[in-house]
C-alpha cells in the first residue's frame, strides 16, 4: 500500500524569462510521493516549493520534464486530477465580497456535488471553529486560512496539496489541523505539504524533501533525517574543567562550537564518540548529555554546507 506512488515527478524544470534574464526556478526535480504518507516539502522562500506545486496543478507549464498524479499526466488530465485533489495556496486570496458559505457553495458547485460537499464543509467549519456567515473581507488572515482549508478538504480528496497551511492559525487550531492530517493518513490518503515551519513538519510528516535554489537536496524519512551524524554534547565535570581541555577539544577535527560555562562544557560533535571520550577522561566526568539536532539545525546544516561549496 505504502509503495503505491501518488505523485511521480521526473526531471521537472521551470525557468522564467529568456536569455540573460532567464531564471531557473526549479531544476530537474525527481520526486515520488507514496499513497498514505504525509510528505513535507521544505525550503526557504524562493527555493521553488510554490513553483513545484503550481506545476503539479497545471497553473504553470514546465520548461522540461513531466509529472503524473494518480498515474495521470498533470497537463493532459488536469481536470480529472483536480477532481481528486484539494489545494490550499500559500498566499490565499478568496473572493472578498462573498461570505464563507457562498464561497463554499461556489467551489462545491464547480466540483459538481454541491449538497454532499457542503454538508461535509459544515462539519469541517465547525471543527475549525469557523463562522462561514461572514464576508471574506471581514475575516482575519487566520480565519481566511481556515476557510481555505475547508474549501480544500470538503470533498474528502485523495490527495491534499497544501502550501504553508498553518500560517496565521492560532496554536489550538494548529493542533486540530495536525489531528486532521493524522486522520487523513489513517484513511490511506496522501498529503503533500510545503512549509518552512520545521517543527510542524517534524510533528506530522512521514518523509521530508529539502529544496534549495530550485534543487532537491535530500529526501529522507523524518526519523532518518533527524538521525544525522552530528550531536550537541554537554559534559559536566565534578571539579573545574581541566586546564587545556578546551584547546584540546578545539584541536579535534570532529569537534566544533566549543563553549564553557562553569564546570560545564558544550560542543558540537560529528561522527563517533571515541575521540571525545578519550580527551574528556582527563577530568572526572559527572554527567554527559547528548542532544539530537533539531530539524531546524539540520535544515541550516544543509544550507551552510551548500554555502561552503
Amino acid at each position: 500500500m505504502a509503495s503505491e506512488s501518488v505523485i511521480e515527478i521526473n526531471g521537472l524544470s521551470k525557468s522564467y524569462g529568456s536569455g540573460k534574464k532567464q531564471t531557473l526556478a526549479l531544476n530537474a526535480l525527481d520526486l515520488t510521493v507514496n499513497r498514505g504518507e504525509i510528505f513535507g516539502y521544505l525550503g526557504p522562500n524562493g527555493a521553488g516549493k510554490t513553483t513545484t506545486i503550481r506545476l503539479l496543478l497545471d497553473l504553470i507549464r514546465p520548461s522540461a520534464g513531466s509529472a503524473r498524479i494518480f498515474g495521470l499526466d498533470i497537463r493532459a488530465d488536469s481536470v480529472e486530477i483536480h477532481r481528486r485533489i484539494g489545494f490550499l495556496p500559500g498566499e490565499l486570496t478568496l473572493w472578498e465580497n462573498r461570505t464563507g458559505s457562498q464561497i463554499i457553495h461556489y467551489v462545491a458547485s464547480v466540483r459538481g456535488d454541491a449538497k454532499g460537499i457542503a454538508k461535509h464543509a459544515d462539519e469541517l467549519a465547525e471543527r475549525l471553529d469557523l463562522d462561514t456567515s461572514k464576508r471574506v473581507r471581514d475575516l482575519s488572515s487566520g480565519n481566511k486560512r481556515k476557510l481555505g482549508l475547508v474549501a480544500a478538504m470538503m470533498h474528502a480528496p485523495e490527495l491534499l496539496i497544501l502550501d504553508e497551511p498553518t500560517g496565521g492559525l492560532d496554536p489550538l487550531v494548529q493542533q486540530t489541523f495536525h489531528a486532521m492530517m493524522d486522520e487523513y493518513r489513517d484513511k490511506g490518503k496522501t498529503v503533500f505539504l510545503s512549509s518552512h515551519v520545521l517543527s510542524e513538519v517534524q510533528a506530522i510528516c512521514d518523509r521530508v524533501g529539502i529544496l534549495r535554489g530550485g534543487e532537491l537536496k535530500a529526501v529522507e524519512s523524518v526519523e532518518k533525517i533527524t538521525n544525522v551524524e552530528f550531536h550537541w554534547v554537554d559534559v559536566t565535570f565534578r571539579d573545574a574543567i581541566p586546564i587545556g581541555l578546551q584547546q584540546q577539544l578545539e584541536g579535534l577535527p570532529s569537534i566544533s562550537d566549543v563553549s564553557t560555562n562553569g564546570r560545564r562544557i558544550r560542543l558540537r560533535m560529528l561522527g563517533d564518540f571515541d575521540p571525545l571520550l578519550r580527551v574528556i577522561s582527563s577530568g572526572y566526568v559527572e554527567m554527559v548529555h547528548v542532544e539530537e539536532p533539531s530539524l531546524e539545525e539540520i535544515f541550516l546544516a544543509y544550507y551552510s554546507g551548500d554555502k561552503e561549496n
Partner: protein, 268 residues
C-alpha cells in the same frame, strides 16, 4: 457543474449592471425629456454653422438633415457623445474575465478545481456579455420612460434599434479587452492598452468624419466606432453587415483568447 461559473459571475455582477444601467438610462431619460425644449430646425442651422471637426467629435458627419429630427437630437445628445462612456462598462467587464482574478490570485483557486481554462473564459464571457445586454435594456427603458414622461414624439422602433445596436459594440470591446488582458497578463498594462485603443479609435473616427469627401476619409474606416454611428442607424436601421462584423470579430477575439490562455502560465 456546467454553468456554475456563469451563474456565480452573474450573481457577483448584477449590482454593477444595475448601477451602470440605471445611471446611463437616467442620462438618456434626461436627453429625451429635453427634446421638446429645442426647435429642431434651429438645431440643424446651429449644426451647419459648426466646423466639420467639431461635428465629427460629437459623431456627426456631413449628412445633417437626419439630425434635424427628434431622433437625431437624441442620437447626438446621448448616443453620439456617449460613445466613450459606453466603452467603459465592457472594458471593466473584460478585465474581470481573467486579469482581475489573476492579479488578485483567485484564479489559482478557481483553476485548481475540476474545470477547464476554456470553460472559465467562455462562461465568464457569456455572463458578462449578458450583463451588457442588461445594461442596454435598462438604457432603453430609460429612453422609453423619457418618451412617456415628456410626451415626446419619437420613433420608438428606431430608438430601440439605435440602443440595441450597442450590444455587439459593447461585446466587441469586452472581447478586445479580454484578449489584451490575456496577452498582457498584468491588469495595469492591459488597462493602459485598451484605453489607448478606445481613444485612438475615437480619434480616427473623428478624423474620418471631419475629412469626409477628402483623401483622409478612409482613415475613419480603421476605427470600430465608425461602424457604430447613431446617425447612420437612424437613417438606415440595423446595418447587418456591420453587426455581423462585430459578431465575427468578437468570436475571433474570443477564440484567440482561449488559444493563448490555454498555452500560458497563470498569474506569472
Amino acid at each position: 457543474m456546467i454553468g456554475s461559473v456563469f451563474l456565480e459571475t452573474l450573481r457577483t455582477t448584477w449590482k454593477q449592471m444595475l448601477y451602470w444601467g440605471v445611471g446611463l438610462s437616467a442620462m438618456g431619460l434626461l436627453v429625451v425629456i429635453m427634446v421638446p425644449l429645442f426647435n429642431m430646425q434651429d438645431m440643424a442651422n446651429l449644426l451647419q454653422s459648426f466646423p466639420p471637426v467639431i461635428l465629427a467629435m460629437i459623431g456627426v458627419g456631413q449628412e445633417l438633415e437626419i439630425f434635424a429630427t427628434n431622433e437625431g437630437f437624441v442620437a447626438i445628445g446621448f448616443f453620439g457623445k456617449s460613445a466613450l462612456i459606453f466603452a467603459v462598462y465592457p472594458v471593466v467587464m473584460g478585465m474581470r474575465i481573467t486579469a482581475n482574478e489573476e492579479d488578485s490570485g483567485t484564479m489559482d483557486v478557481l483553476l485548481s478545481l475540476p474545470i477547464e481554462r476554456a470553460r472559465v473564459i467562455v462562461e465568464k464571457f457569456l455572463a458578462y456579455g449578458l450583463s451588457c445586454v442588461g445594461v442596454v435594456i435598462l438604457i432603453y427603458l430609460g429612453l422609453h420612460l423619457g418618451v412617456i414622461l415628456g410626451g415626446v414624439d419619437l420613433d420608438v422602433a428606431r430608438l430601440l434599434e439605435v440602443t440595441f445596436y450597442l450590444i455587439p459594440v459593447m461585446v466587441f470591446i469586452m472581447a478586445a479587452t479580454m484578449l489584451i488582458a490575456v496577452l498582457a497578463r498584468r491588469r495595469a498594462v492591459a488597462l493602459g492598452i485598451i484605453t489607448a485603443f478606445v481613444i485612438v479609435s475615437y480619434m480616427l473616427q473623428t478624423i474620418g468624419l471631419a475629412a469626409e469627401g477628402t483623401v483622409a476619409e478612409p482613415i475613419g474606416a480603421v476605427s470600430f466606432l465608425t461602424y457604430y454611428n447613431a446617425g447612420d442607424i437612424l437613417a438606415q436601421g440595423f446595418i447587418w453587415p456591420h453587426i455581423a462584423g462585430f459578431v465575427i470579430l468578437s468570436g475571433l477575439l474570443l477564440l484567440a483568447s482561449l488559444y493563448r490562455y490555454e498555452g500560458r502560465d497563470i498569474g506569472v
